[in-house]
Structure formats: structure tokens, C-alpha cells
Amino acid sequence: MNLNYFFTNFAELEVGQHLYWQIGNISIHGQVFLTSWILLGALLVFISLGTKKMENDPKGLQNLLEFLWDYIRDLARTQIGEKVYRDWMPFIGTLFLFVFVSNWGGALIPWRLIKLPSGELGAPTADINTTIALALLVSLSYFYAGLSNKGWRYFEYYVHPTPIMLPFKILEDFTKPLSLSFRLFGNILADELVVSVLVFLVPLVLPIPVMFLGLFTSAIQALIFATLAAYYIGEAVEEHH
């Protein structure tokens, strides 16, 4: 792990170091859970504030939440299709909100000010465990969606235009979660690294445009993740004729 050695010794940057929590004989990355609990707690508080008093004429927060809901519905509907998008909208929306809140929370909140005994707080999506967990959930859900909607006929999808496609379609089942998880992980981690390296080298002005770029990338990554997840589910439930 030469690369790791290089990264971990890069001045103040702490890459690949974790705050380990031991529960019995399993160990987990504490910093990921700490930040995700803070961010998801904020998200839940925000949402319960906005939905506390629902009115027919939306005001303030309710307006924003309705816009968000509409946005997620459009995303789910265009990718999954009119027939079953309702069943999957909460899942797609949760993926979008989780990734978005994690990315933006990681980029906007100055976690660095909080000192941990080991590792540092940051976007939960910059940890490979989180992104693989999300990607595997997506894989499970598109299998479930396909099987529950079409039964065994779901496997027709693998030989759909011609049986020659079979190996490629099987390969796709592995590349889908791989690309989903590594895209998100790589983008968010790279963004954090670029910002921290720039802040370390030039602590004035220069990192600001990069930070804005990071915010942009974060939002786009959330959209990409949710859209692809919806697309995979849509592909699985689509009827071939």
C-alpha cells in the first residue's frame, strides 16, 4: 500500500484513516455514521418541519418540499414508467436525498474544525462502504422489481434481442453496482481531496471556485445516482414485445 502511505503522510491530510468503533468483534467506521446521523437527522427535522402543517395553498417549506417531491416523481416516472413508478418513488427519492444531503453536507459543513482521535469527519459518500451499500441496494431492488413484476419472465431480459447478449447481460449485473459505487465514491473523494490539497497549498481565494465546482459535482452525482438506479429498475420492469 505505497499509495496509502503517500496519502496518509501528505502533511495534514488524513486519507484512508478511520475512527474505528468496535461492537463485539465487528468494527465499523465511526466517522461515517457520525456525519450521516447528523445530516440525516437534519434532513428529517427539515422534512418534519415542512410537513407539520400541510395546506392546500403551500407556503414556505411546504412549497420547497412539494417542489422536491415533484422533481423526484418526474425522475422516477420518466425512468421507471407510468405503471410502477409509484412503488419505487420512495426508494429513488431516498437515494437522491441521501446522496445529495451527504455530498452537500460533506462539502458545506466545516467538519475539519471537529477533531477526532483518528480519521476525520466528511461526506459519508466519500467512504467506499456507503457507496457499495447503496449500489447493492439498487441491485437488489432491480432484481426484486423485475421478479415481482414479471416473475420468471424477468430472465427473458437476458436473452432479449438475441441469446448472444446473455454473457454481456450477466456481466452487466456486476458492472452496474461497481460503476454506481465507484463513480460516487471517486467523485466525492476526489472533490474532498482537491479542496483540501488546495486549501493546504493556497489557503486564500483559489479554493473557492473549486469548492463551487465541488458543490456542482455533488448535486450532479446525486442526480446521476438516482437516475441510474431508476433506469435500472425501469429496465427490469419494462415489458418486451
Binding site: 418534519s48 400541510m54 411546504q62 417531491w69 441521501f98 459519508p124 456507503t130 447493492l136
Partner: protein, 152 residues
């Protein structure tokens, strides 16, 4: 577990451990939470409003069609009434013209008859006068003749 052998060193970017399943469980729990806190209530309100707007629009469309039908009806009635009125005016004009012509004709014929009568009267009187005159002339001539005869 071979994945963890690959990245066996404590720490590292690709340190995969129990964080993964726990995070997956957390996301599933979050999905249920968000579904009951966010997607269901907001969806209910939004869809209720959409239904409200849709029904309002269709109702308004129905009303508009009704209004248009009524308007067309009224327009028809108006047109009918106008043509009726024009008809009545034309009829009245014709009637009055007819009456006028009749009156003139009547007057003319009356004038003609009275003129004829007068002419006849005049003719009668002339002829009777002439007759009288010739009678008188005859009588007178007889008288003259008689006197001349008696003298001789």
C-alpha cells in the same frame, strides 16, 4: 471475505467492513422513514390539489361549452328575430304600397265615372236642348207658314 484479505491492512481507502451492511440497513430504515414522513403526506397533498385543479378545469370547460352553446342559441334567436322583423317591414311596405295603389285607383275610377256622368249629362242636355230647339223652330216655322197662308 476475500475482499477484506485484499485490503487487509488496518485502514485505507478500500477498507470494507461491517460499515457496509449497517449503512445498507440504515438506508432501508431511512427509506421507510422518508416514505411515511415525506413521500406519502406530500404526495397526498399534491395529488389532491392536482385532482382539484383537474376537476376544476374540466368543470370550467364544461361551463364554457354550455355558455358557448347558449350564446350560439341566443345568436340564432337574434338572427331569426331580425329576419322576422325585416320580413314584417317588407310586408308592411308592400301592404302600404298596395293600399296606396288601391286608393289611387279608386280615386281615379271615381273621378272617371263622375267625369263620364258629367259628360253624359252634358250630352243629354245638349241633345234635349237641341231637340227642344228644333221643335220650337219647327213650331215657329209652322206658325210662320200658317200666318203667311192665312194672310193670303
Amino acid at each position: 471475505m476475500f475482499v477484506s484479505y485484499l485490503f487487509a491492512t488496518e485502514g485505507g481507502l478500500f477498507d470494507i467492513n461491517a460499515t457496509l451492511p449497517l449503512m445498507a440497513i440504515q438506508v432501508v430504515v431511512l427509506t421507510y422513514l422518508l416514505n411515511s414522513l415525506f413521500f406519502k403526506p406530500v404526495g397526498k397533498v399534491v395529488e389532491k390539489r392536482e385532482e382539484f385543479v383537474r376537476s376544476n378545469i374540466s368543470e370550467a370547460k364544461k361551463k364554457l361549452a354550455e355558455v358557448e352553446k347558449l350564446e350560439a342559441d341566443l345568436q340564432n334567436q337574434l338572427l331569426e328575430a331580425r329576419s322576422e322583423a325585416a320580413q314584417i317591414v317588407i310586408e308592411a311596405e308592400l301592404e302600404s304600397e298596395k293600399l296606396y295603389k288601391e286608393a289611387i285607383e279608386l280615386a281615379n275610377s271615381e273621378a272617371n265615372t263622375s267625369k263620364e256622368n258629367a259628360r253624359l249629362e252634358i250630352e243629354n242636355q245638349t241633345s234635349s236642348a237641341r231637340e227642344q230647339l228644333s221643335q220650337q223652330a219647327e213650331a215657329l216655322s209652322e206658325l210662320i207658314v200658317n200666318r203667311l197662308i192665312h194672310q193670303t
